[in-house]
C-alpha cells in the first residue's frame, strides 16, 4: 500500500493505492482532475467558470458538462436534505467573512460580520438545463459548490483511478474519502482531517463507497461578533448553531456521506433520527465532546 499527499483546492489531497506500481499514474490522474475542478468551480478564482456564471447572475449562459453536473449534484443535495445543504449560500458566506481562500481569511484579525438571509428554498430558482448545458443563476445570488464538489471529485477520482490502474484506491480531499477497487481501508476518525493517521480517535474500515466528516471546529475565523464557521444554516444565513460540533457519515458514495454529514450539523437535534431513517451509519460528536453513534456505526473502541 502506497500513499501520496499534496496540497490542492485549498486543502489536503491524499491518494493511496493497494499496489505500489500504480501510485504514479494515480497521482497524475488525481492532479489532472483537481486542476479541472478548480478551473471549473473555484469560488476564489475570478476566471473560474462558476464565478463567471455568478457574475452574470440573471442571465442564461452556456456551461461545460462538468459545471452542469456539479450544479446538478448540488441541487440534488438541496432537494434530498430539504434545503439543509443549499448551493445558493455564496452571498451569505461572503458576508460572514469567507470571501477569499481560507488561509487568507484565517490571517485576518477581524471581520465586520454582516448577516444576509436568503429566501426559503432559493435554490429552486436556479435554472439548469443539463441537456442543453445552460444555467441561469438567479439575480443577486452567488452559487457556492463547496459542500458537494470536493466529495463528488473524490468519488470520481477514486473510480477513475481504480478503473485505469486495476487496483484498490482511496482518495481523500480534505477528509472527504472515497474508496474503489475492492480493498479495505482503515481510516482514523478525527475532528480535523490534518490530524496524523496515528493520532487520536477511533479507527474504522470501509471497503466501498465513501466516508466524510463535517465539523464546525476547524474552518473558523474571527469576526466582530465572535468566531464564525463555514457551515451555514440556510434558514438564518448564519453559521449553524448545532448541538453537534462534528459529524462523520458513511454512505454509498463520498458525496452522499458529505451531504449527510453537513445536513446533520444543520439539523442539530433532528439529525440522529434523520440519519437513522436513511440507514446512514454516523458518528456524532456533541458540543461538549459526547459521542453518539447511529445507523450501525461501531461504538468507539475502549483504549486498553
Amino acid at each position: 500500500m502506497r500513499t501520496m499527499t499534496f496540497a490542492a483546492l485549498g486543502t489536503t489531497a491524499v491518494v493511496a493505492v493497494s499496489e505500489e506500481r500504480a501510485l504514479g499514474e494515480a497521482c497524475a490522474l488525481l492532479t489532472d482532475q483537481l486542476q479541472r475542478l478548480d478551473r471549473t468551480c473555484s469560488r476564489f478564482r475570478p476566471d473560474s467558470e462558476l464565478q463567471q456564471a455568478n457574475a452574470r447572475a440573471g442571465t442564461t449562459v452556456v456551461v461545460s458538462p462538468l459545471l452542469a453536473e456539479l450544479v446538478e449534484v448540488a441541487l440534488a443535495a438541496a432537494e434530498t436534505t430539504g434545503g439543509c445543504v443549499d448551493p445558493t449560500l455564496g452571498g451569505p458566506l461572503r458576508a460572514a467573512g469567507y470571501d477569499r481562500t481560507f488561509s487568507l481569511v484565517r490571517e485576518r484579525d477581524s471581520w465586520a460580520f454582516a448577516e444576509r438571509r436568503v429566501p426559503p428554498e432559493q435554490w429552486r430558482q436556479v435554472e439548469l438545463d443539463a441537456g442543453r448545458l445552460t444555467l441561469r443563476v438567479p439575480r443577486g445570488v452567488e452559487l457556492d459548490l463547496g459542500a458537494t464538489a470536493k466529495a463528488w471529485a473524490s468519488d470520481h477520482a477514486a473510480r477513475t483511478i481504480a478503473a485505469q490502474t486495476g487496483c484498490g484506491v482511496l482518495v481523500s480531499l480534505g477528509g472527504d474519502i472515497a474508496v474503489a477497487g475492492g480493498s479495505a481501508w482503515p481510516i482514523r476518525i478525527a475532528e480535523d482531517h490534518t490530524e496524523p493517521p496515528d493520532g487520536r480517535g477511533p479507527i474504522v474500515s470501509i471497503e466501498s463507497g465513501g466516508l466524510a466528516t463535517s465539523s464546525t471546529t476547524v474552518r473558523r475565523w474571527r469576526t466582530d461578533v465572535g468566531e464564525a464557521h463555514h457551515v451555514l444554516d440556510p434558514s438564518t444565513g448564519r453559521p449553524a448553531e448545532s448541538c453537534w460540533r462534528t459529524a462523520s457519515v458513511a454512505a454509498a458514495t463520498c458525496l452522499d456521506a458529505n451531504v449527510a454529514a453537513t445536513a446533520a450539523i444543520v439539523l442539530s437535534h433532528a439529525a440522529a433520527a434523520w440519519l437513522e431513517d436513511r440507514q446512514l451509519p454516523a458518528r456524532l460528536v456533541g458540543a461538549g465532546g459526547k459521542v453518539e453513534v447511529v445507523g450501525g456505526w461501531p461504538a468507539d473502541q475502549v483504549a486498553a
Binding site: 456551461v63 446538478e72 478503473a163 477528509g175 466528516t213 458513511a250 454509498a252 446512514l280
Partner: protein, 115 residues
C-alpha cells in the same frame, strides 16, 4: 405661342396633375397613419409579452445565449462501473452504504475530519 384652345388644354392638364398630386398625398398620409397604428398594436403586444407577472419560458436557443467558455470543457474521464452503468448517471444523495464501517486495529492511511 399656341392658340387659345391650346392654352385652355394646358391649364386643364395642369389642373388634373395637381388634383392627382393631392390624391397621392392623401393616400400616402393614410398609409402612414395605418403604419403608425400597426406599430402601436405591435408595441402593445411586445409590452404584454414582457409583463413581469407573465411566465416566460427561458430561451433555449443556444446561439443567443452567451457562452462562458469558448468551448465546453472536456468531461472528466468517463468510467463504467462493474455493473456497466455510467459513473455520470443522475446523481443520488443520502444513500446507505453497502456495509457499515467496521472497527479496525490496523494502521490507518488517512484521517477523516473537518476541513
Amino acid at each position: 405661342m399656341g392658340s387659345r384652345d391650346d392654352r385652355i388644354g394646358l391649364r386643364h392638364a395642369i389642373g388634373e396633375r395637381e388634383a392627382a398630386r393631392v390624391r397621392l398625398r392623401r393616400a400616402t398620409g393614410g398609409a402612414v397613419a395605418v403604419a403608425v397604428a400597426l406599430g402601436g398594436v405591435f408595441a402593445a403586444l411586445a409590452a404584454g409579452a414582457t409583463h413581469p407577472k407573465k411566465t416566460v419560458a427561458p430561451s433555449t436557443s443556444a446561439g443567443k445565449i452567451p457562452a462562458l467558455t469558448s468551448a465546453p470543457a472536456a468531461p472528466l474521464v468517463e468510467v463504467q462501473s462493474s455493473d456497466g452503468s455510467s459513473s455520470s448517471d443522475s446523481p443520488s444523495v443520502s444513500s446507505a452504504p453497502a456495509a457499515a464501517p467496521t472497527p479496525s486495529y490496523e494502521q490507518p492511511v488517512v484521517s477523516s475530519g473537518g476541513s
